[in-house]
């Protein structure tokens, strides 16, 4: 018997009789369901979501109606689509402050390219995809090359994109918004993909909800069941250790920035095809909502820990709070206060989780 084994066995004999499962290691018995749940990154956010739901169910009568549910889900999905890649990026140890305006850039590019070239809008949509992915690549490449903090790199991109959005729109359209493209070829099919509605029973739902759930499913699969997922956790949790065992950390991080860009493209196309015109000044500040959703969902700011499902719960909390305040007929100014308080609570919970996870001996 090694010293380690002896050290291990001492504290776990308390509740041996609880589960007489012969196949399991007898020392595993102490891990009750509650303890196993405690280990999940989503735990804090699920508790928070239930609390917020109960709170508004009591405070606002109309909150419990089906139509309200659809509105809440829609609000959640618009944040949730971006919160998924932002969460992955955060698990990979980095930030993207340009994510909010990148959505607007993506919409502007598709709209203005199609309008100016009088092309099928699908061409504009594709050009927008290429350009947006290139911006994501730029973020990742600069990060790897300069070794500067991602906060600085993406703050730079954020400001540059903000300027480009306003400048180019003014230059090309002569105003702060784009021209209507609703009558152009391909608009209706693109609208169907990015901004249509569908019905389940009596509930009228936005297609973004499907995009959102699909992205959460794919991201969860990638994170937990693929090599890339392992590399994302490792790049955020210990980049040097990961590099030492042959993990392509640079490639992983660039890929994550491109995933953010891809989802910004989806969000941007939704923006364009649901409103027909795009305001060039939109999107500023949204990057924080994505980060908040990811952090409430259990992602550690320092990387290496978190989940895609958590980010979805975080986005759902955001949706419930933003719409719940309206249904409760309160002054919506209070919304930001709630958001801030929840962020603090979530971060405290996460810090505690990390301490537990990292405590040695």
């Amino acid at each position: 018997m090694s010293g380690a084994t002896a050290a291990h066995t001492q504290p776990h004999h308390k509740d041996k009789k609880e589960r007489p499962d012969a196949a399991a290691d007898e020392r595993l018995v102490h891990r009750s369901l509650a303890r196993r749940l405690m280990g999940r990154p989503e735990l804090g956010s699920v508790v928070g979501a239930v609390a917020v739901f109960v709170f508004f169910a009591v405070a606002a009568d109309s909150f419990m109606q089906l139509s309200s549910f659809s509105t809440v889900l829609y609000a959640s999905s618009t944040i949730g689509i971006m919160a998924v890649p932002v969460a992955l990026l955060m698990i990979g140890g980095e930030f993207d402050l340009s994510a909010g305006v990148m959505v607007t850039s993506s919409a502007l590019i598709a709209s203005m390219f199609s309008y100016q070239m009088t092309a099928n809008v699908w061409l504009g949509v594709l050009v927008s995809l290429v350009v947006t992915l290139a911006v994501g690549f730029f973020n990742g490449f600069m990060l790897i090359r300069t070794k500067l903090p991602s906060f600085i790199i993406t703050l730079g991109t954020f400001l540059m994109l903000t300027g480009l959005n306003l400048g180019f729109t003014q230059l090309i359209s002569g105003s702060v918004s784009t021209k209507k493209i609703g009558d152009m070829a391909g608009f209706s099919s693109a609208h169907a993909l990015f901004a249509s509605r569908f019905k389940i029973g009596d509930i009228d739902l936005q297609v973004t909800i499907l995009w959102w759930l699909g992205l959460v499913a794919v991201a969860t699969w990638v994170l937990l069941r693929t090599r890339a997922g392992n590399w994302i956790f490792a790049s955020g949790g210990g980049a040097d250790a990961a590099r030492a065992v042959g993990v392509p950390v640079a490639r992983t991080k660039i890929g994550l920035y491109m995933a953010v860009a891809f989802c910004a493209w989806i969000s941007g196309q939704h923006l364009l095809f649901s409103f027909d015109v795009v305001q060039s000044g939109e999107g500023i500040g949204n990057e924080f909502l994505y980060i908040i959703a990811a952090v409430i969902g259990g992602c550690l700011m320092t990387g290496g820990y978190g989940s895609a499902v958590g980010s979805a719960v975080g986005a759902f909390i955001f949706g419930m709070t933003s719409k719940g305040i309206v249904y409760a007929e309160w002054d919506p100014n209070w919304f930001k206060f709630f958001l801030g308080a929840m962020l603090l609570l979530a971060t405290l919970l996460n810090a505690w989780v990390r301490k537990r996870a990292e405590a040695s001996k």
Binding site: A7, H12, R227, A241, G246, Y305, A357, E358
Partner: protein, 280 residues
């Protein structure tokens, strides 16, 4: 095959895995390492001892492929090499376990064990980690070396420092390392944990690996080592087989021999400061 097994002083029956002959390394005009020779045999432990700045880490970096040597020869299994990257070293069966870079603390043990070399199953978009195999193998490999993990799902950061080193070593062994380079594996550990790691190092040796143990603790080195190479200011200060040297002598040489004697002399004679003599 270029190299031949020359100058084997050792009893026969062991395979020579790595040999450095008069290896030197310069950083600009600074001699980081000069004329260092070292041999690693299968199933033997070669200890490299030296104080801080003696050139131990430069030596590891050359063997591990992070740096290239400027003079001398580096042979792996009889073939002269000049390694361009850690990956090349790994492919030749040389695995390095660094003291602080071994694992990612927040990740489960089984994910850490296979990090960078994850087995997959399925095809195309359904290509996925072979999770059951990863868990099972991790448990088995750790058990084989005498560490009974109660839960391979726990973050590796919850293991003790010694156990973490052991996971990193077990990983190297599992992925077919022939030579294991351990950078100060016991430096940050207590007595008991050091024992765990040393036992594990011995287990790796018994499994037929050649081990290079870098340390500044002659007591740990003497417990498991077969051959001792002493470094001092980038140069060889001695190379001994265990049969040729006693622990006291090794400790004396390691600590700087005459320097230590002088130090103890000075300390003995140091007058007691007045304010301490009065009693606080």
């Amino acid at each position: 095959m270029t190299g031949t097994k020359t100058g084997t002083k050792e009893p026969t029956g062991t395979e020579e895995l790595v040999e450095l002959a008069s290896v030197s390394k310069f950083y600009g005009n600074i001699k980081a390492l000069e004329g260092v020779s070292l041999k690693v045999d299968a199933g033997r432990i070669t200890c490299v001892l030296g104080d801080n700045g003696a050139g131990k880490s430069t030596l590891i970096k050359i063997i591990a492929g992070l740096h290239q040597h400027d003079a001398g020869t580096y042979t792996i299994q009889g073939e002269e090499v000049r390694l361009g990257s850690p990956r090349e070293a790994l492919d030749l069966g040389i695995a390095t376990v660094y003291q602080d870079l071994a694992v990612v603390p927040l990740m489960p043990v089984w994910r850490n064990f296979f990090l960078g070399s994850e087995p997959t199953k399925g095809k195309g978009p359904f290509k996925r980690l072979d999770v059951s195999k990863m868990r099972r193998t991790t448990r088995e490999e750790m058990l084989r070396m005498g560490i009974d993990l109660r839960d391979v799902d726990q973050p590796i950061g919850t293991l003790s420092g010694g156990e973490r080193q052991c996971v990193a070593i077990a990983r190297a062994v599992y992925f077919g390392a022939k030579v294991l380079i351990l950078d100060e594996p016991t430096a940050a550990l207590g007595v008991k944990q050091s024992g765990v790691v040393l036992k594990y190092v011995a287990a790796a040796r018994d499994a037929g690996l050649g081990v290079v143990l870098i340390t500044h603790n002659p007591h740990h080195a003497y417990l498991v080592g077969d051959r001792f190479v002493l470094l001092k200011r980038g140069a060889m200060a001695g190379s001994h087989l265990k049969s040729e040297i006693a622990l006291e002598e090794l400790t004396r040489q390691m600590a700087g021999g005459s320097e230590l004697e002088q130090l103890s002399h000075e300390l003995e004679r140091a007058p007691v400061p007045a304010h301490l003599g009065e009693g606080a």
